[in-house]
């Protein structure tokens, strides 16, 4: 029974994700595509939930649908002074790009169809967060620390670049 529900849920969610994603890459208006991007991310979060990865889903919603998109919107506001209507056109390459990605999709699809899966029978423990935290903080200490460094570097780097430009702007 629940298989059916899951299937329906999956179809709806994936339809949502893919549809919005398509809109993201096709719409002419940048702000609109950002909005649709949020929708996509939420859909993805839904998928995560289906795959009972609630913590990841949460992070997805918070970081992506929240922070990232806000950042992007700010960014857009900073750079898009002129008409927002036609801020996000396609360039000439999509004529070639489409067959290429289509071809890749076909390839992957074919190969996937030919591969059979040995699905493990175990179920995912319910309390993912409790399970995740020790792993993150113990097994993956090194990546964790690295992530910290990375964030610092990225942050200061971003600051540097922007600040530099401001100084530059003042000069000019």
């Amino acid at each position: 029974m629940e298989n059916i529900f899951e299937l329906i849920a999956f179809v709806l969610l994936s339809g949502l994700v893919l549809g919005s994603a398509l809109l993201v890459v096709t719409l002419k208006d940048l702000v609109h595509s950002v909005l649709w991007l949020i929708v996509t991310f939420i859909g993805v979060a839904g998928i995560f939930l289906m795959l009972n990865a609630d913590f990841v889903a949460a992070v997805q919603v918070l970081v992506y649908a929240g922070a990232v998109c806000i950042m992007i919107v700010f960014g857009i506001m900073l750079v898009q002074r002129q008409d927002i209507r036609n801020s996000n056109p396609l360039n000439g390459r999509y004529k070639i790009a489409f067959p290429v990605v289509g071809g890749l999709f076909v390839c992957i699809g074919l190969l996937m169809a030919r591969s059979q899966w040995i699905v493990s029978t175990k179920a995912v423990p319910e309390k993912t967060v409790q399970a995740l935290s020790p792993i993150l903080l113990h097994d993956f200490t090194i990546p964790f620390e690295v992530a910290a460094v990375l964030l610092t570097v990225a942050l200061t780097g971003a600051l540097l670049l922007v600040k530099e430009v401001k100084a530059n702007g003042d000069r000019s």
Partner: protein
């Protein structure tokens, strides 16, 4: 299971000094930041010392997530050496060309940290984090002269393309993870050996090749490199050309020979073809270049092709060849780029035509350029020749055609190197004013030149080192 800090010493030390320079950069007022470079240099040398001291201190920690073997050590030493040379050789350039460079040195150190992490990463996550740290820092470094349109453009290109390629790499990793059910490189090896062999694994492999091929700038994933090399500040370019390439090769070898060695028949052909393409296209396109940085960029594409030859021979000898070549490539490339930096620092130009009469303006720089270029071309008795010998010797029996192509191409490459030499040696300088290198740069140049010649005439010790490293790699 537990963290073994003695194994982590180099990384920790680097992290420490990186942080130190970073903080100092923030605190010290901008007019008195001259000393920062020297501090960074001291720090790096210290880290190098630590690393060398830990040469025989091997081990695996966190059940295989972090591998510290001589192989990793070798590449770490390589990266640190190049970092030192870059920092030391570019004092003057940084002072004059890079505005508020307080973050410059710390970023270079963090880049190096990222490399070291990815070199000895034992699982995909660590690998990815190290790679990403390296990439992000390089984006910043490339865009560092943010008053220069070119520099910004280089940063932009590197950021977007690197992000894309990383996504592809990740997709590949995810597929490998899916098909083998593990993210530990060691376990992947055993799973594959056990016969896990699904069509999607091939797609995963292809995507890994693409992602890493981007980093080592192998054709057809190389196209970013000329632009970024040209736009980025010259020391960054040399660092990018040497260290990130070497680190990526380390990962490449670890993944493909370490994990997928058993199913080599699926990818060896692919790598061979890519290597051939890189040699051909890199060398041919370098011929018409007029900007020396672009020329060197294309030649570095070709160099990547040569190094991949060592990958084609899935063997200890091949790994050894890769390591040896990567190491001597450090000196040749950094030598050349340091000269470029010094010259552009004075003349403000990277055009080959502006190197006219360099032999009279700066004999040392000219001779270093000569030696470096010829070493890249593989002319005896310079290091490049020995390196090529080691590399090609490993595939001569199975892929003779590759050896042919490689050697012919390296001889053709002499053509465009000689065009530079022609300008440097024959022409009379437009203005005869001598080019002031500055002590640090001069010393760096001498070091690189001596190393290049010495490795060519007496490669014994280094090759012994590479041997040990390669053996340690295959023990597991």
């Amino acid at each position: 299971m537990e963290l073994n800090f003695s194994l982590l010493m180099p990384e920790l030390a680097l992290f420490g000094v990186g942080l130190l320079t970073f903080v100092l950069g923030l605190l010290v007022p901008s007019q008195s930041r001259k000393g920062l470079g020297s501090i960074a240099l001291m720090g790096l040398i210290l880290v190098l010392g630590v690393t060398v001291a830990n040469w025989s201190n091997q081990g695996v920690m966190l059940n295989g997530m972090y591998i510290v073997d001589r192989y990793a050590m070798f590449f770490k030493i390589l990266c640190l050496t190049s970092a030192i040379l870059v920092v030391f050789g570019s004092y003057k350039y940084v002072d004059q060309q890079v505005k508020n460079h307080f973050e410059y040195y710390s970023t270079i150190m963090f880049t190096t940290l990222g490399m070291m992490v990815m070199i000895s990463a034992g699982d995909f996550i660590t690998l990815y984090m190290g790679l990403e740290l390296m990439t992000i820092s390089f984006v910043i470094l490339a865009a560092f002269r943010s008053t220069e349109a070119k520099s910004l453009e280089a940063g932009m290109k590197y950021l977007l393309l690197a992000g894309m390629s990383t996504a592809v790499l990740l997709y590949g990793l995810s597929l490998v993870y899916g098909t083998t059910g593990t993210i530990l490189i060691g376990e992947v090896a055993s799973k594959v050996a056990a016969g896990v062999d699904s069509p999607l694994l091939i797609v995963g492999l292809v995507m890994l090749v693409a992602g890493l091929g981007f980093k080592i700038s192998a054709v057809p994933f190389h196209m970013w490199s000329p632009d970024v090399y040209e736009g980025a500040p010259t020391p960054v370019t040399s660092f990018l050309a040497v260290a990130s390439k070497a680190a990526s090769f380390a990962v490449f070898v670890r993944l493909f020979i370490g994990s997928f060695g058993v199913i080599q028949e699926h990818w060896v052909g692919l790598i061979a073809v890519l290597a051939a393409l890189s040699m051909v296209i890199g060398n041919l396109v370098a011929i018409p270049q007029t900007n020396i940085k672009r020329m060197l960029a294309y030649s570095s594409v070709a160099q990547a092709g040569y190094i991949m030859v060592g990958l084609v021979a899935v063997s200890e000898a091949g790994i050894k060849g890769v390591m040896f070549y990567a190491f001597l490539y450090v000196f040749a490339t950094i030598g050349a780029f340091t000269v470029v930096a010094a010259v552009s620092n004075q003349t403000g130009s990277d055009e080959i035509a502006d190197y006219a009469g360099l032999i009279q303006r700066a004999p040392l720089a000219a001779s270093v350029m000569l030696v470096s270029l010829l070493s890249m071309a593989g002319i005896p008795p310079l290091a490049g020749f020995v390196g090529k010998f080691y590399l090609f010797q490993t595939v001569v029996q199975d892929h003779l055609w590759l050896v042919f192509l490689g050697l012919i191409m390296s001889m053709i490459s002499v053509y465009y190197y000689l065009r530079v030499i022609l300008v440097i040696f024959r022409d009379e300088p437009k203005d005869a004013s001598p080019i002031r290198l500055g002590g640090a740069t001069a010393i760096t140049l001498v070091i690189t030149m001596v190393a290049t010649i010495l490795l060519g005439i007496y490669p014994g010790p280094l090759s012994e080192m590479a041997n040990m490293a390669a053996q340690s790699f295959l023990i597991r």
